[in-house]
Amino acid sequence: MKKLLILSLLLSMTLSGFAQSRSVERFRQDNRPSTTLFFYKSTLKMISRIDLGALGGADVSEFQDMPPIGDMIKGIEKVKFFLYEDNDDRHRAGKSDFDALRANIEGEGYESMMSARIEGNNMNIMMKERRGKPQGFVVLITMDEGYSIIDIEGYPDVNNIVKFSQFMNSNGSNMGLQEAFR
């Protein structure tokens, strides 16, 4: 699960937009997350210097050839991350609430770019456009232990996504999407 969260955050940071979802903000106000993280320009710069291996749950050598995180998050203005753990009494958010959240986000004009279901876990990346240009991204993740929401404001660099994708594939045995869900 740690791997999935790290990978989702990194992947999400490479996506961009100029707005964040109102539905996500309302949802957070109505349902207190188990974990809340806000990343601003300055914190993102700090993250780019973090030794991912030190976060635990992964072999340090897996990250040796990873493209510089600083390049991937260049241009990202803000990232919100909310984790809702099933065994947390502080919130009552369940599947139906997250289904409703997804519908509300779509109601704001977000469209699904990619959805993945692997071993019962789900990830949905949604994007909002204006005049053909990305305005914002929301990533919804459903896991065995709970739910995650990532809401991003920033600027895209597809080439860095590709570099990250190449890295993910070159480490297929340990860093692939399927393994990340495990």
């Binding site: 770019m113 279901r117 990305p134 895209p156 994708s165 190449q166 594939n169 297929g172």
Partner: protein, 176 residues
């Protein structure tokens, strides 16, 4: 009133035609809903973004920009345990047989793979791949308006995406 009914009927028809325009949605919907199956779905928007990738070769750049914009949807459906892949492989081919034309088939290790295409006005509307082994089964569907298989092969090679290695012969041949 008649106009309204006619408009609604046409609208519903258009929606259902759109919803079932690819082989996976049309024939394999029950597996899409089955939580034990892995399912990936990429919309055309994703490929419009990927089309912004910078390539060193200008010809390659042009080809990718032109071809990726035509992709409307990509779906992958599969299972790699507790599945009779060979039986499902046969079942899949039986279901889609009439709609698709065989492009290539191969047997690799313990699995069979078949690439099929659906054409309209000499343009490829859908590339469909079926894979079945002793304990694995997979489907891939790429839907678009004039799919350039060679461009897909080159892109998959460039970004390290697995599964398209068998399309290398198109690159050697210089196109579809």
């Amino acid at each position: 009133m008649k106009k309204l009914v006619l408009t609604m009927v046409l609208g519903l028809f258009a929606m259902s035609a759109n919803a079932q325009s690819d082989a996976i949605s049309k024939y394999f919907e029950k597996y899409v809903d089955d939580q034990s199956f892995m399912h990936l779905n990429f919309s055309g928007k994703m490929f419009q973004m990927i089309a912004q990738i910078e390539f060193e070769d200008p010809d390659e750049q042009k080809m990718v920009e032109e071809s990726l914009g035509k992709i409307k949807r990509v779906q992958v459906l599969g299972k790699d345990k507790d599945v009779d892949g060979r039986k499902m492989y046969k079942e899949a081919l039986g279901l889609i047989g009439k709609d698709f034309e065989e492009l290539m088939s191969l047997r690799e290790d313990d699995k069979d793979i078949r690439f099929m295409i659906k054409e309209k006005n000499n343009k490829i509307d859908e590339l469909f791949m079926v894979m079945g082994g002793d304990n694995e089964f997979g489907l891939l569907s790429i839907v678009g308006d004039g799919i350039d298989l060679n461009a897909i092969y080159k892109l998959s090679k460039s970004i390290g995406m697995e599964g398209f290695e068998e399309l290398e012969f198109l690159d050697k041949r210089g196109g579809n």
